[in-house]
């Protein structure tokens, strides 16, 4: 963090992790093959990541500094980064290479961590809580581990005060207020804010050949080829399928008291009561 002793100004270097995902609201699973039917389905910025971007941009607006969006993905993930620039990110890095393909969360976290190290200075990494296509919620915590910085997971509010991160995490039975030193990593949920729409002149400028988007491969970030992509992934998805939901309806009849007794009996049988 940059501090000016006289002015007390602190500028924040924020890195936001952004993933491009298929719009699962539109994706169906092929019942025969059990695979995702992605054809014709639009790719979007993972919804939680929009909140991460918004959180990063708001921090920059109140503290000054820079927001850099980082994404690992196929070349078309460039669209997600262009959108991030449109929303206000200052710069972006696309990690794209065949060698990155097939990565599980560990290899992805390693790759993102390497990229963040390569970018150099940072005060805060902001990520979405989870991606709608994988739902693992593992990337944020794993990147924090790799970077060896404190992590706050599922923040619903965050601010930086006196050089520390102050965050709130909402639970079923209350709100937990936490604070931690910077640099740190925080993941945010949808409750954190309302993401802004892109600013059209910035969005269109993101298509200029000299737009501030870098494209990096494994060598650029000094990644160990054995730890990235499919090779670096201990987890392999064996099968994707839609669980069969079977519904059995039983109608109870008789006097209300009888039916209530029968219902309690059934619930007990199934250990639901």
């Amino acid at each position: 963090m940059y501090r000016d002793a006289r002015l007390g100004v602190a500028e924040l270097d924020v890195i936001v992790l952004v993933k491009q995902v298929p719009n699962t609201a539109e994706v169906k699973i092929d019942p025969r093959t059990g695979t995702l039917m992605r054809e014709g389905v639009e790719s979007i910025i993972n919804p939680d990541d929009l909140h991460a971007l918004e959180a990063g941009l708001r921090l920059r607006e109140s503290h000054g500094g820079r927001v850099t969006a980082v994404s690992m993905g196929p070349p078309q993930a460039m669209d997600a980064l262009r959108e991030a620039l449109g929303m206000g990110a200052d710069a972006a890095v696309l990690l794209t290479d065949r060698a990155f393909a097939g990565a599980d969360t560990l290899a992805t976290s390693y790759t993102l961590g390497k990229c963040i190290r390569k970018l150099g200075r940072f005060d805060l990494v902001v990520a979405g809580h989870q991606a709608i296509d994988g739902d693992t919620a593992q990337i944020g915590p794993q990147v924090a581990e790799y970077l060896d910085v404190p992590q706050v997971i599922r923040a619903t509010r965050l601010e930086v005060r006196d050089g520390e991160l102050h965050a709130e995490r909402t639970h079923e039975d209350g709100v937990e207020a936490v604070r931690c030193a910077l640099p740190a990593l925080v993941t945010v949920t949808r409750e954190a804010n309302k993401p802004r729409y892109p600013y059209i002149p910035r969005l269109m400028a993101a298509f200029d050949p000299n737009a501030p988007i870098k494209t990096w491969g494994p060598k650029d970030i000094g990644a160990d080829e054995r730890l990235i992509g499919l090779k670096g992934s201990p987890t392999q998805v064996q099968k994707t399928f839609t669980p069969k939901l079977e519904k059995k309806v039983e109608k109870l009849s008789g006097q209300p008291a009888e039916m209530a007794r029968a219902l309690v009996g059934r619930l007990k049988e199934r250990r639901l009561a």
Binding site: D79, Y199, I200, P201, L203, M204, F207
Partner: protein, 374 residues
């Protein structure tokens, strides 16, 4: 994805989330939605056609029409005042205004702090602009504007007007000139807003100029340049109006298709009946034809190829197709089209605006015929 698709997707998302849910309410309130107007400025929409150096997106006609089309899919009123702010209301100010005028009016307009309007039509002439009688008399140190303009979109809420005037009656259209008149100029009188059939979330009124004095720098372009300035914008205005038509036709089609799948009669969704299917098939075909005509025309224009015939054809076809689509939509919806609870009624009322703005179908046919050498 190219920048056209990205723009379409971005505007579409805003339209789906922020405009469609309130479009009927906006229509019922019959009031210019200033908050929404400002939000659109916040997204940088009004400067989309202007150069990057000026803070714009340097959008070509294709991009601009994509934006207009998507907005019109949500609300014709919103699309109409946006087009006014982007094009007719601010274009001459940007190109021919003094740096000071640009700073005082154009920049705030781009930020949504000032509203623009464009005054051509007079009680004595809409299609026939040669009949314009509003005069601009030059004196040694200023210009005095006198006349009566009507059907001024944004008239009641505008902060400034770009006004077509006659500077020399003996010269006919060769004596035309455009002048910039701020609303707060003494002698500018804005009448009550019109009560109207459609685009009810835009406000329209008459604007009367009673010896309104403006500095000489408020003249856009040299003497007698008015007709040429207007002609230089006609292609753009026409193809943009065609894009508005396409957006509305799509909205009417989407609503009709959804309704045809949901509404049941005689034990089946009405979309299963051939009579309804034929309506939808025709709507879809005409939408596709409009789309091809419009974007073929914009791509020509973007390459610098003259396209007056194509723009006139696109506007003529797309606006009439939108009217037919909205008409069929009101049939498919049955009685529910007659209720303002559903959008069908709004679509139907709003399409009529498309018949007049940017040239009536009749005059466009005259122009097309002329282009054919008749």
């Amino acid at each position: 994805m190219n920048s056209e698709e990205m723009l379409r997707r971005t505007i579409a998302k805003f339209v789906d989330n922020e405009i469609i849910p309130v479009a009927n309410d906006l229509d019922e309130k019959e009031t210019f939605p200033r908050d929404l107007f400002k939000r659109l400025a916040g997204m940088g929409l009004y400067s989309i056609r202007y150069p990057k150096e000026a803070g714009g997106s340097a959008a070509d006609n294709t991009h601009f029409c994509i934006m207009c089309e998507e907005l019109a899919r949500g609300s014709m009123s919103v699309a109409a005042f946006t087009a006014m702010q982007c094009l007719m209301g601010t274009d001459f100010l940007f190109k021919y205004g003094t740096p000071e005028l640009r700073e005082r009016y154009w920049r705030p307009a781009m930020r949504g702090e000032k509203v623009a309007a464009f005054c051509l039509t007079e009680p004595g002439g809409g299609t026939d602009l040669a009949a314009v009688t509003t005069t601009a008399r030059k004196s040694a140190d200023d210009v005095v504007i006198t006349g009566y303009k009507t059907w001024v979109t944004n008239g009641p809420v505008a902060d400034f007007y770009t006004v077509l005037c006659q500077t020399d009656r003996s010269k006919g259209p060769k004596g035309f000139g455009f002048f910039f008149v701020p609303r707060d100029t003494p002698g500018v009188v804005v009448t009550r807003k019109f009560s109207k059939m459609g685009t009810r979330a835009t406000e329209i009124s008459e604007v009367i100029f009673r010896d309104a004095h403006v500095p000489r720098e408020h003249q856009f372009g040299p003497d007698g340049s008015g007709a040429a300035l207007l002609n230089s914008k006609l292609e753009e205005i026409r193809v943009m109006t065609a894009a508005l038509s396409l957006g509305l036709a799509r909205a009417a089609f989407d609503a009709s298709l959804r309704y045809a799948n949901e509404r049941e009669a005689f034990g089946r969704p009405i979309g299963k009946y051939q009579a309804i299917q034929m309506k939808l098939a025709t709507m879809a075909t005409e939408i596709e034809a409009s789309r091809l005509m419009i974007y073929d025309c914009t791509r020509r224009m973007d390459r610098g190829i003259p396209a007056m015939k194509e723009a006139s054809m696109a506007k003529y076809f797309a606006s009439e197709a939108a009217c037919r689509a909205a008409d069929e939509c009101t049939r498919i919806f049955g009685a529910y089209a007659y209720s303002n609870e559903y959008p069908a009624s709004r679509f139907y009322r709003d399409t009529r605006f498309l018949l007049y703005g940017g040239g009536t179908s009749e005059i466009l046919q005259v122009i097309i015929a002329k282009e054919l050498g008749l």
